[in-house]
Symmetry: C2
Subunit: 408 residues, 2 copies
């Protein structure tokens, strides 16, 4: 097929065709391995993460992480969180606030100290140790939210605590990262740090508190004036893009803005908007999940010492989030504490971003970067099966409920 | 806000934030100007195209065409055509084949000869004249399909002819382009050209003819075996990516593959898949429409001679497609011939691709490139209001039907 005509066709459509092929490979392998995972009684996300590892440089090398795929991944996790927010009934941040705050704070302090301590004990430079600690602080709420949403468990009390704690964790994690990075580059400014923190907290609190009421007022009013196309869906998209953007400007992650947009709109949009958003989410989420797996870098792990360190850091990451968040939630009973401890485990894309910043600042070695990436992926793969196990009594009740004929 | 902390945040999320801002601007301005267009009794697509001109380098310069936006645009037109295919009831390429073939062939020959003739008469180089002719052959079916779908007119006989003729036109256009380009680079090979043509025709014919039956057999079978997630929607996405990719390999545009995938699935998927696909389409189509407007390049048109040429080429482009396609459809009556002639007018992104190839091969001057781009955008903006006018009697019937209370 390498005729001049075919070459011409490729020259004109080359990049687009390559991306189309990559999209097909990513989507198809994600769905195929999700089916395999289901048959092994594992959550489908595990299969989708494994598809990334398989397609990526670690195994087959067919697809490499690139800008276009990472944009699709970013949009995927944004819409996933938006969809989760839209799904929540009767969720008020203030109602779960005290418990969630305890979970988040203890779940930040314990992993940070443990990660830092381990690295210092092993004789690594202080700043590298601090970065590993910061990576252990990260929480990738997308994975947990996906597992819980798939099983219809978002409305459970423990699930709500996980979501709220993950939001608080995101703000705390960003502050830890800011302190760590600015002290690494010698630009630490306490006043500025407090301003940023205040802005982030204010944005999150304001949208969580008054978002729903505001949307209930403006959505019907605007919709009645719109004449073209899908009014409510258009407003929903404007809200998700607008609030994601405002979130970034206020110093929190875009996905938090998307989640808040979903929460705020939950009561203002009808069933069709849910269905249409599900379409966008189902299309894009595989790119997020596969994208995490694509980043697995095995070159650093060929050194046996590094491999041992990676296993140790991963074990520490699992144990410290479980213990830290579990401790914070202990007054809710050991069963919910277990669920919350496991739900906060995945570091996913957030842990990898911390490692990338450290690498960019030149304060962590490439080997340690590989260790943190492995830890991020491993915690993300380990948590979903454990989560399914921790929620197994509720899943059974749900499954029995579904044995009845479904309406609609 | 240019604190080190904010700079750090931007450094880690910089590109993603820029894209998020661009997505918000594109989506919001498209929807805003669509509303304005509705109030001026114009089709919303005109507003969305105008949003691109406004945001782009031609006026405000806030958003420049870039790789990420153009991927979203490509996906947008792909899903638009998929959605149109999914919507069609009882559409068989063979049933409208003879009329559509006549429309496509006359609608290719007349614009090509006219464009080439004009440029030669004005003393331009032969090869440049040939490229302008080839650009006049292009048909951007996405725009017409969007207007017709929005008004619920896809099932009308003239609309079906337009869609079928646009598919044939795409194959013919690609062949014209191949001949033109390979003769420009001195690599014309007739045997190879015939092979490519045969492959393109065979692919389109086979999928159009047996796609529906095949999908009716395999979709329910596969779906019953799938355990995770949205089975039918997953299969639909695999079909759209898979057939788009095969289309490119067979020598036709990806959007033709997407359209055929929609047609093939129309009877095999339920209402939910339609809704979910609508979500994806409604999100992405504005990027396609705005993307066209973003490419308007006014620097070339500051030369009054070029501006006059651009106006002349645009007038010729409108007149020749209208007359050529209208002539091909004359036996259907003058009313349908008018609709078809107008529906085939927009050159959109396809005309711009031809210009880009010519520029890339160094056979058309930058000024002529600007002329072709203006012609592509202008024909795309002019056609929708005319199309609305040509279908006005049917739209009125439709609107009266909608005065009754809608169910669902």
């Amino acid at each position: 097929m390498d005729s001049p005509l075919f070459a011409l066709m490729l020259a004109t459509t080359g990049d687009a065709t390559k991306l189309l092929l990559e999209m097909f490979l990513v989507f198809a392998s994600a769905k195929l391995l999700a089916e395999v995972a289901e048959r092994l009684r594992q959550p489908p996300v595990v299969g989708e993460l494994a598809a990334g590892v398989l397609l990526g440089p670690a195994v087959l090398g067919w697809v490499r992480p690139n800008d276009l795929l990472s944009v699709l991944a970013d949009l995927g996790v944004m819409f996933l969180l938006f969809r989760v927010g839209l799904e929540l009934r009767d969720f008020r941040l203030t109602k779960v606030g005290a418990n969630a705050l305890a979970v988040a704070v203890v779940g930040v302090v314990v992993p940070f100290l443990a990660g830092w301590g381990l690295m210092v004990a092993l004789g690594h430079p202080r700043i590298e140790a601090v970065f590993v600690g910061a990576a252990l602080v990260a929480t990738s709420v997308g994975i947990t939210a996906r597992v819980l949403a798939a099983k219809g468990l978002l409305d459970h009390q423990a699930s709500k605590i996980i979501l709220a704690a993950a939001i608080i964790d995101d703000v705390l994690g960003l502050l830890v990262l800011a302190v760590v990075s600015s002290s690494a580059s010698g630009t630490l400014n306490l006043v500025e740090l407090c301003t940023t923190a205040a802005l982030a907290v204010a944005f999150t609190f304001l949208v969580a508190q008054w978002g729903t009421r505001t949307m209930e007022k403006i959505v019907p009013k605007l919709e009645s004036r719109m004449r073209s196309g899908e009014g409510q869906f258009t407003l929903a998209m404007l809200a998700v893009f607008g609030l994601s953007l405002l979130a970034v400007y206020a110093g929190v992650a875009a996905i938090i803005g998307a989640f808040l947009a979903g929460m705020a709109l939950a009561k203002s949009v009808d069933h069709r908007v849910h269905e249409m958003t599900t379409g966008v989410t189902e299309l894009l989420v595989p790119f997020f999940l596969v994208g995490i797996g694509l980043h697995l870098d095995v070159t650093a792990l060929k050194d046996p010492g590094m491999l041992v360190l990676a296993v140790a850091v991963t074990a520490l990451a699992c144990a410290t989030k479980f213990i830290g968040c579990g401790l914070g939630a202990l007054r809710m009973g050991w069963r919910d504490a277990t669920r919350i401890g496991i739900g906060m485990m995945p570091r996913g894309e957030v842990g990898m971003v911390v490692a990338q910043i450290g690498l960019g600042l030149g304060v962590i070695a490439p080997g340690i970067y590989g260790v943190v990436v492995l830890m991020s992926i491993a915690t993300t793969v380990i948590a979903p099966p454990l989560l399914q196990l921790a929620y197994r009594d509720l899943i059974r009740v749900e499954a029995e409920g579904q044995a009845l004929p479904r309406v609609g």
